[in-house]
Amino acid sequence: MSLISILILFPLLTSFLIFLVRKENVRNAIVLVGGFITAILTVITVVQYFKDGIALSFQNEEVIDIVIVVVEVIMATYIITMGIKNKKYLVSIFAAIQTPLILWFEFTQKKGIDVQSSIVFDKLSGIMVLIVGIIGSLICIYAVGYMKWYHIHHDSYPKRKSFFFAVLFLFLSAMFGLVLSNNLMWIYFCWEITSFCSYLLIGYTKTTEAKNNSFRALTINVGGGLAFAIAIVMIGVNYNTLELSTLIAMKPESMVLIPVFLLCIAALTKSAQLPFSSWLLGAMVAPTPSSALLHSATMVKAGVYLIIRLAPLLGTTSVGRVVTLVGGVTFLACSLTAIAQSDAKKILAYSTIANLGLIVMCASIGTPESIWAAIMLVIFHSISKSLLFLSVGSIEHQLGSRDVENMDILMHVSQKLTIYMLIGIAGMFLAPFGMLISKWAAMKAFIDSNNILIVIILAYGSAATLFYWTKWMGKLVANANVKKITKHKFHIEEEVPISIQAVLVISACLGFPLISEFAIIPYLSHAFGTESLTIISSSNATLMLVMLSMLLLLPISFIPLHKNDKRRIAPIYMGGENTGDNVTFNAAMGVKRDVELRNWYLKDYFGNHKMALLSNIIALTILCVGVLLLILGVAK
């Protein structure tokens, strides 16, 4: 059995095992060990195959195909019955169309199609495997600590921890399968499994809200799956192939572009781009580790992964333009909407959608530089976003709230969490951290490919990004006075993954020239046949590294200074009415009033439904134009 099969099957087995074990301590131990082994396996696999890559095929692929079909039918039956039972008929309809379609294709059309290699491990899959394996297993380990107190805070929810951990591991297994498969049928199968897992995770608490949101997620993603299924049938029937690599190597003519467009629709639903983004916002009701998993290592990254794969077919084609514009609208609209949010998880959710929009933009431009930026964004976004989600999860436990307005006392409650949060936020938008490096390359790629509109969108979106992150940082550094702090236990299973991820954020930034040199550029020169690609010149890279080390060293150099400093600490200025404790002031009639400092949310501008509706309509219009172009056959 090859290492790759073990990598895919191990989380699956762990998942079954966890599901069967009901004893809390034993199960926690299995999750910890399982997560650890998954991470180790990931590293071993990548070390083994990274240099040369590998393409595999199996002798008994018919058996695997039969298993896949059986699982698909069971899953479809479940979805259809649950849809009817809960009066969500749309999802039942989607499932009732696509599964027979796939069955028909499997048993009548697929006979003559020969799949050379079902599994392909190249540099891009290597990067994705690392993200899924390392970030994903860290999130699973974190979940052990998180779930310890989750049901104490929320005692009305039914305890289904075995189920929860089992789905987390199943998710990892499906993601491994998705990024390693080259056989479109297998990718589609894993694609459906991830949709189904996210449905299970979102519905974890079984409240009405959770139920509705999980069905929304399922409906949208199964809708995307339907597009995927149609694309497979079209490719299989017209071109007699089922391999992703063969599809990518084709010429972008209009008969190829229709299935490519359908695959892009599937990717856009999975990556929660407008107008399909509502499911990811609804996914917040789930416990934080599952949000972290959906937002960083799995699920949404599957969509952009597919677009990055398809990038050679996009570029200047009409499909490429349409996808770029949808990404652009999503990036701008969600960056602006994030300004109006004060719920930490909501800000993170909008920022995820916005950044995925940016990745979609970069990938669909289709030049080597822009794909470089897209892959970099995927890497940095995964690490930083997962760090942020896990930190917010623990902060919610410490403060009893995840409202950014309440985080001004975090410095007193937990300095560690404050620092992790600051690192995560810095990683999302600040020079010299990762996301900015990619944005920089993206800017260059957009101008080089003459996409003026996209440059302007990037400029405005970045300005909005800067606003909402900085005001959050402002709350974190505010260091407000508190009278009484109740400290909660910060479990070691929470702390270790968070600190590892904080280290990962910084080391990814320090190591970005290496990632570029040894992983992304070889992938691009293989995919595009271009040699010697310089994205960020070495002198600039050096300057960035100098800045990063400055940022890391600065706090240290300041510490000894202020110990024997003769500076006087005075009360803050409140127009002369500070009562002296910095918390209250003398208001009219001699009443003591509390000082409340709030951030700006500009709700009149960015928080209204009008903007959300408008951006959804624009995105939908762009997609419709794309459909029209393809139907009329003008597209090239």
């Binding site: 800017m443 440059v455 400029a459 300005a463 402002g474 951030n599």
Partner: protein, 286 residues
Amino acid sequence: MFILRIFLIIVLAPILGGLLTGLDRIISARLQGRKGPPLLQPFYDVLKLIGKESIEVNTFHRFYVYISLIFIIFTTVIMLLGGDILLAIFVLTLGSIFFVLGGYASNSPYSVIGSERELLMMMAYEPMVLIIGASLYYASGSFFIKDIVSESIPAIVYLPGVFLGLVFILLFKLRKAPFDLSMSHHAHQEIVQGITTEYSGRDLAVIQISHWYETIIALTLVYLFFATNAPISKVWAISACSIVFLFETVIGNACARLKWQVALKSTWIITGILGVINLVVLSFFK
């Protein structure tokens, strides 16, 4: 030699910036019918501030202004050594963000309002700043300032709209009315001294010095639009800088402070119109 150049930039830039600030105060005074302070007044102010006792509201907030200063100096060095303009913009943004965080860190009502306003102003002018970087690259084919200033045709020929946008946002950067929302040199502002309310002594001096560097950075951006490989163009570029500086001072004295709503909307609309039209027209000639 390289070290010496960096050293000279670090020393000379604030001196020039300080002189310009002094000049600015004299011109402002004349516009208001006063005689005004001596040219070297900003230096006297800073020297006096350095000698004063520092009074703080907590032990954290002063670090941010020092870090901010370091990154602003870094920007100045990158720009004047002919480095990458986008990198310079990003570093400058980092410096400005630290300055804003300093306001938040004091946790004082007036400072926090100042910080919110400063941040809003950053959001207002940031798109134009990025478009300036992008369009200079679009026009000259390089992000490096040393390449941009050695083209044969000045960037202003390609980018008149973007240049107007730059002149507009320099009102923010130079902290001039109508956009001096977050802090003001003038007394009796509605939010006292805004972001700088809780700073005194040496920390306040550092803020003044940062502003001198920022003045130089702002005028360097103007310079980029005029300089070419012809030596005479340097004269034109420097005169353009002087005219823009004078213009900003006059506008600063002729306007009342605007509300933040107007500041944000007007800047975004002007950026959109000037940036889009200019770049679209340019893309036709490319």
